[in-house]
């Protein structure tokens, strides 16, 4: 299997190259593009990014494993990131988690503070925040997806 950036992404890469003093800066942007393109970051994608950024593949691999939002494996389940940090915990995230655990076909990730502490408890699905959660609200959200 080989990986190729889409035409749009290649254009975006060229555009971004002009905005940074060195191509290495395109590491995170291209990792994001690859992940959106394929749903995860494959080794082939890492090689392609290595080309774009002139960073050795191993270093890209190290970067990809450093940041929690990058996935090196494909998952066909809906990824539900639930905040478990203090403010959310104080506002009942444990209950939300317990409720979510009873559901199938979702993958629950316990994540750290999502920057929505004032509207706790929160979860994030596909880059979207769902705040002030209650069990009924969670049900409604999941149903809609």
């Amino acid at each position: 299997m080989s990986f190729k950036f889409t035409e749009d992404n290649l254009l975006e890469i060229e555009r971004l190259k002009k905005r940074y003093p060195a191509p290495q800066a395109l590491c995170l942007p291209s990792l994001w593009m690859a992940q959106y393109q394929e749903g995860y970051i494959s080794l082939e994608a890492i090689d392609a990014i290595s080309q774009v950024t002139t960073i050795p593949a191993m270093e890209i691999y190290r970067v990809a494993t450093f940041y929690t939002m990058f996935h090196l494996e494909k998952s066909d389940k809906i990824e539900v990131d639930v905040c478990k940090t203090l403010s959310c915990k104080l506002c009942g995230s444990d209950e939300i988690l317990k409720h979510l655990e009873s559901k199938s076909d979702i993958k629950i990730n316990h994540v750290e503070c999502l920057g929505s502490c004032g509207t706790a408890p929160v979860m994030q699905i596909n880059d979207k925040n769902y705040e002030n959660l209650t069990n009924t609200k969670v049900d409604a959200i999941l149903k809609e997806l």
Binding site: L43, I46, P56, A57, M58, E59, Y61, R62, T65, F66
Partner: protein, 457 residues
């Protein structure tokens, strides 16, 4: 040259270059401070935080590997505070470390073991079940095995593949206490210098598959030697021993620091060349494939030399010591023989690189050239005396002086290998090293010079 400045360490006066690294001075002057991540060949990384020292005027202990020497600096390495810091950080280092030295291959040459013995730390206070579990036997490739649980994440090995070989096979992935050294899936460690990471690893996390558990290091004797793998002549340490009822045996070659030649490293081919050196040795004289006594062989050789007087060519292996080559040349003059040392056979462009490896795979080729010895192939003659040269040339008769067996039927006399004899050799850059006899066989094989003497008497 930058300026020399004075500083005081533990009450003693020292002089050092301004802005040079404090840790290097401590190491050079053998002032003991524990450290893992610093290595002269790799520079400072500042990750292990072990090399803490007190610097007067600074509130907090500072890492010596990130401290530049300044005029009048006052450094303390032995105060109670500093010792406590060393102990504390060492203890943390041990939290997730198995501390099973008795079964560890590195025992005896592990900095962690040295340090915690010295600081009197014995048991770690975290229970075994709570330790972060990692893989204990990963084959990284190139004969290198990794025990992730023993690793202290000093990043020496990864900096080696990043900065020294530029091959980037190794890396620390993950983060926090889940961080670990690894290769990328299906991309093993594979570069001609890979095994140096075993020497660089300060603990027993990286071991050589070649050497793993074959010997306890404290049972080994170490001697200086010179690698004969190519015209670079890397300086090595030969680790060997002679167990009861066994013969003196080499267990490994390791790099010996020599800034003029190989720095800190050697290539894997050179490192592993000790194996072939000991295999298939020519131990007895042969005539037409049949063992004969040494006396008989010498007698036969003398006969042949006499028979083919003025019709003899001598072929010299370009790996022989200079003293041996000189003796051969003198002998040739005596009997009026032509001398050749054909070099083409040693040329291996694929082997050479711009780090250490030379495409001339003969240790003393430079001496052949310096002595103006004919490097062409010999013309067909009556008798050929081949002193361990790898090629076979046509002639009516042949006398071979060999270190290793060959499918030869001619008259063959065994000779000692370079570890069993002494001599000097000059590398391709003109640097001459002397190499002493290291291996003492139970039944010694005569050296080339000894054999030659007997033949010419």
């Amino acid at each position: 040259m930058s300026q020399l400045v004075k500083l005081i360490i533990d009450g003693q006066d020292y002089e050092a270059e301004q802005d040079s690294l404090l840790i290097q001075l401590l190491i050079d002057k053998e002032i003991k401070v524990p450290y893992f991540c610093y290595h002269e060949s790799l520079g400072a990384d500042g990750n292990c935080r072990m090399c803490m020292v007190g610097i007067e005027g600074q509130k907090r202990p500072q890492i010596a590997c990130d401290t530049l020497i300044k005029e009048g600096m006052i450094v303390n390495t032995k105060t109670d505070t500093i010792k406590q810091v060393h102990t504390d950080i060492l203890e943390l280092e041990l939290i997730n470390h198995p501390v099973d030295c008795p079964t560890c291959d590195q025992a005896g040459e592990c900095s962690l073991q040295d340090f915690y013995m010295e600081y009197g730390l014995h048991s770690s206070k975290i229970t075994i079940e709570e330790k972060v579990k990692h893989n204990k036997a990963i084959d990284l490739g190139s004969n290198v095995m990794l025990d992730q649980e023993r690793c202290v994440l000093c990043a020496r090995c990864t900096r080696f593949t990043d900065k020294i070989t530029g091959t980037h096979e190794l890396g620390i992935v993950g983060r926090g206490d889940e961080a670990k050294v690894t290769t990328m899936p299906n991309r093993p460690l594979s570069n001609p210098y890979a095994m140096n990471v075993v020497d660089l690893c300060p603990v027993g996390a990286l071991t050589s598959k070649d050497f793993r558990f074959s010997q306890r290091v404290w049972l080994l004797e170490s001697a200086d030697g010179v690698c004969h793998g190519c015209a670079k002549n890397c300086s090595i340490i030969i680790d060997h021993n002679k167990l009861k009822y066994k013969d003196d045996t080499i267990y490994r070659f390791r790099p010996r620091r020599n800034d003029a030649i190989n720095g800190f490293f050697i290539c894997d081919t050179g490192r592993l060349s000790y194996r072939e050196l000991q295999e298939n040795r020519q131990e007895t004289p042969l005539l037409d494939g049949v063992k004969i006594s040494e006396d008989k062989a010498i007698e036969k050789a003398k006969e042949l030399i006499l028979l083919y007087k003025r019709n003899t060519s001598i072929i010299i292996d370009a790996n022989l010591y200079t003293q041996e080559i000189e003796a051969i040349v003198a002998f040739a003059q005596e009997i009026g023989a032509d001398v050749y040392a054909p070099l083409d056979i040693y040329r291996d462009e694929a082997f050479g690189d711009d780090m250490l490896r030379s495409s001339m795979r003969a240790a003393n080729a430079q001496t052949i050239i310096n002595m103006d010895i004919n490097t062409q192939k010999p013309k067909k003659v009556g008798l050929i005396l081949n002193f361990n040269h790898p090629e076979k040339f046509e002639s009516a008769a042949t006398i071979n002086f060999l270190t290793h067996t060959r499918a030869e039927t001619a008259l063959t006399l065994p000779i000692a290998t370079f570890t069993e004899s002494s001599g000097s050799l000059t590398n391709e850059d003109g640097i001459t090293q002397f190499s002493k006899k290291v291996i003492h066989k139970n039944i010694p094989v005569p050296t080339l010079i000894e054999s030659l003497k007997r033949v010419s008497q």
